[in-house]
């Protein structure tokens, strides 16, 4: 019998999240090479339509439906998934390295007593052992990590690594109603909060000047502010800058902040960790200024400048000023 891979699907706002489709793309080669069967499970309540949609893309789709599964909580998901995993006996359980995956996958792996491989960029089987590629130190290094031989492995895949593609297969859903014994749970879901709408909406800006850790000090923001002023751009920042309270939360760009698609994004002192670049990748033009010629930000930049932000930005600012005064 073919070995199985079980994808744990993710949904929010009545949509299957992109990362689930990306995982399916990432699995094509692996499943093909080893003759493995891709199964998926979607947990929810009233999510029949999503289950139908996903079922056309996999060999078998399990839809676990219960009121307690309407929103994700680790305890209920685990309680529903463990019996299914026992039954399916997958070689690999895979989900996105998202807020859900980061919460669920390590606990699931521990409960299964299986090796856990988080935030993978790539994965393969070598003589039955799982080997994955992942980053270290925020992208400065990469590693290949080999799991010890085990009956099954748990893996989370980074968002945005693989490209989703259209899949049309037979749509058949196996509906399972798990018995969740609600009184035993120690976690209670209270609600999902939408992002606050106050402040500047940076997603509407044509020009965004992004500030990263490289700025070094709040006082030095002035240099970037002057640059933003002459270009008519708005300031945004990476998480570390927001965490320090140097700019308000609504200016945060990246995985946990906003996804922006301006005409021009100027990345100032931003190293280019994936949590940030996922939020700017779709910008029409990206300019990166960084002292480190090996900063990952140059991967996605259209124009790169290796050098000191505080020498380069003022030079650009004054150049634009002089052009503007000539045009007056």
């Amino acid at each position: 019998m073919a070995e199985k891979i079980l994808v744990i699907a993710e949904h929010r706002g009545e949509e299957i999240r992109d990362v689930t489709w990306e995982i399916l793309s990432g699995l094509d080669e692996l499943a093909g090479a080893h003759g493995m069967e891709v199964h998926a499970v979607i947990l929810g309540y009233g999510h029949e339509r999503l289950a139908q949609e996903l079922s056309g893309a996999v060999a078998k789709l399990y839809y676990m439906e219960s009121e307690g599964l309407k929103f994700y909580t680790c305890e209920r998901y685990l309680s529903a998934l463990m019996p299914l995993i026992k039954e399916v006996n997958p070689k690999l359980v895979i989900m996105g390295h998202t807020a859900m995956g980061m919460d669920l996958a390590p606990r699931l792996a521990a409960a299964m007593d299986s090796p856990y491989m988080p935030d993978c960029l790539d994965f393969r089987f070598d003589a039955g052992c799982l080997i994955v590629t992942r980053e270290l130190f925020g992208g400065k290094l990469r590693s290949e990590v080999k799991a010890v031989e085990d009956q099954s492995y748990v893996l989370t895949l980074r968002s945005g690594v693989f490209t989703p593609k259209a899949r049309e297969g037979e749509k058949q859903v196996e509906r399972i109603v798990p018995q969740l014994g609600e009184e035993g749970f120690l976690t209670q879901f209270l609600g999902l909060t939408e992002p606050p709408k106050e402040g500047v909406d940076i997603t509407k800006a044509d020009i965004i000047i992004g500030v990263g850790r490289g700025i070094g000090d709040k006082d030095k923001l002035q240099v970037v502010e002057e640059f933003a002023e002459v270009t008519g751009g708005v300031l945004a920042a990476t998480r570390p800058v927001i965490d320090k309270g140097w700019l308000p939360k609504e200016r945060q760009v990246g995985q946990s902040g906003k996804i922006v698609k301006p005409k021009l994004y100027v990345a100032c002192g931003i190293s280019g960790a994936s949590q940030h670049t996922i939020g700017i990748k779709k910008s029409e033009t990206i300019v990166a200024i960084n002292v480190d010629p090996h900063a990952p930000i140059f991967n996605i930049a259209h124009y790169g400048i290796v050098g000191d932000l505080f020498e380069i930005l003022p030079a650009i600012t004054s150049k634009i000023k002089s052009i503007k005064s000539l045009n007056k």
């Binding site: 929010r12 994700y72 909580t73 680790c74 998202t98 807020a99 919460d103 606990r107 792996a109 521990a110 090796p115 856990y116 491989m117 988080p118 935030d119 270290l136 130190f137 925020g138 400065k140 290094l141 990469r142 590693s143 290949e144 990590v145 080999k146 010890v148 120690l186 976690t187 209670q188 879901f189 209270l190 609600g191 999902l192 992002p195 606050p196 998480r239 570390p240 965490d243 309270g245 995985q255 946990s256 902040g257 996804i259 021009l264 029409e284 033009t285 900063a295 990952p296 930000i297 140059f298 991967n299 930049a301 124009y303 790169g304 400048i305 380069i312 030079a315 650009i316 004054s318 150049k319």
Partner: protein, 262 residues
């Protein structure tokens, strides 16, 4: 409330990390280390909770002799007790083993709440927290951005961060474990004078890693790094502008104007 905070010491990597000739280990000689950024927020949150609701903060760390540094730091910040699980030189372990050793030690003490950082700067796994919660048999929530204690139900109300500004609100019955996200608070500043004073006078309880594991099974690593390499960005798609700041500015503005961006 008895609170345990798990602290990890992480290397501060400069631009050009050195890899050992074996091709799978990092050369950390002469590299400075500090308290993992996420753990600094976890420590601060523990201190704030103890201050607000009463209780004690204990800190625990696993590693060779030098991890004492982060424990002294935690004591200087306000933790009452520090436990160091001392590992033998050159021990090869993974997060599974770390979580098991922490669980063995923490189980010996009374606790209501365990905090960890949401992930570590070095491996970025985010694995120890949820694994430890499983081993302790308590509920957990990760990526926590807000914590409120509700004494009437002995519960915590927490907000955990999702993507793109969304948040989940949860209630967890104590004892529980939370993994803390950066930005939840502003970690306090510890002066070097204060830190020196604590290094001179504060005490750290030592626990031998070997003693801890000799009592149990299941302490074997589940994974290992087989290859390590420096990541080089693919700059082939980027046009790298060179020259003096003025020359670079001129080129860039020219390009952006011709593309109609400026």
């Amino acid at each position: 409330m008895e609170i345990f905070v798990c602290l990890r010491q992480t290397a501060i990597l400069k631009e050009e990390p050195k890899i050992q000739p074996d091709g799978k280990t990092l050369d950390l000689s002469g590299v400075n280390r500090h308290l993992n950024e996420w753990d600094a927020y976890a420590l601060e949150e523990a201190l704030l909770l103890a201050q607000k609701y009463g209780g004690n903060v204990s800190i625990i760390s696993l590693g060779p002799q030098e991890v004492e540094e982060v424990l002294f730091y935690g004591l200087a910040a306000g933790a009452k007790e520090a436990i160091h699980i001392l590992t033998p030189e050159g021990l090869e372990i993974d997060n599974w083993v770390i979580a098991n050793a922490l669980a063995q030690e923490i189980k010996k003490h009374p606790f209501d709440l365990v905090l960890t950082g949401a992930q570590a700067e070095d491996d970025g796994c985010g694995e120890v927290g949820a694994t430890l919660a499983h081993l302790l048999g308590i509920p957990h929530a990760s990526l926590v951005m807000r914590v409120v204690y509700e004494p009437e139900t002995n519960s915590l109300k927490v907000d955990r961060e999702l993507e793109e500004g969304y948040m989940d609100a949860l209630r967890l019955r104590l004892p529980a474990l939370l993994t803390v996200q950066t930005g939840i608070n502003q970690p306090r500043y510890i002066s070097s004078m204060r830190l020196r004073r604590f290094k001179k006078s504060a005490t750290i309880s030592k626990v031998s890693f070997d003693d801890l594991i000799s009592k149990t099974q299941g302490f074997l690593p589940k994974k290992e790094i087989v290859k390590l390499y420096t990541y080089r960005p693919d700059v082939s798609k980027a046009k790298i502008l060179e020259g003096s700041p003025e020359a670079v500015a001129e080129q860039l503005i020219g390009q952006l104007i011709s593309k109609g961006v400026l």
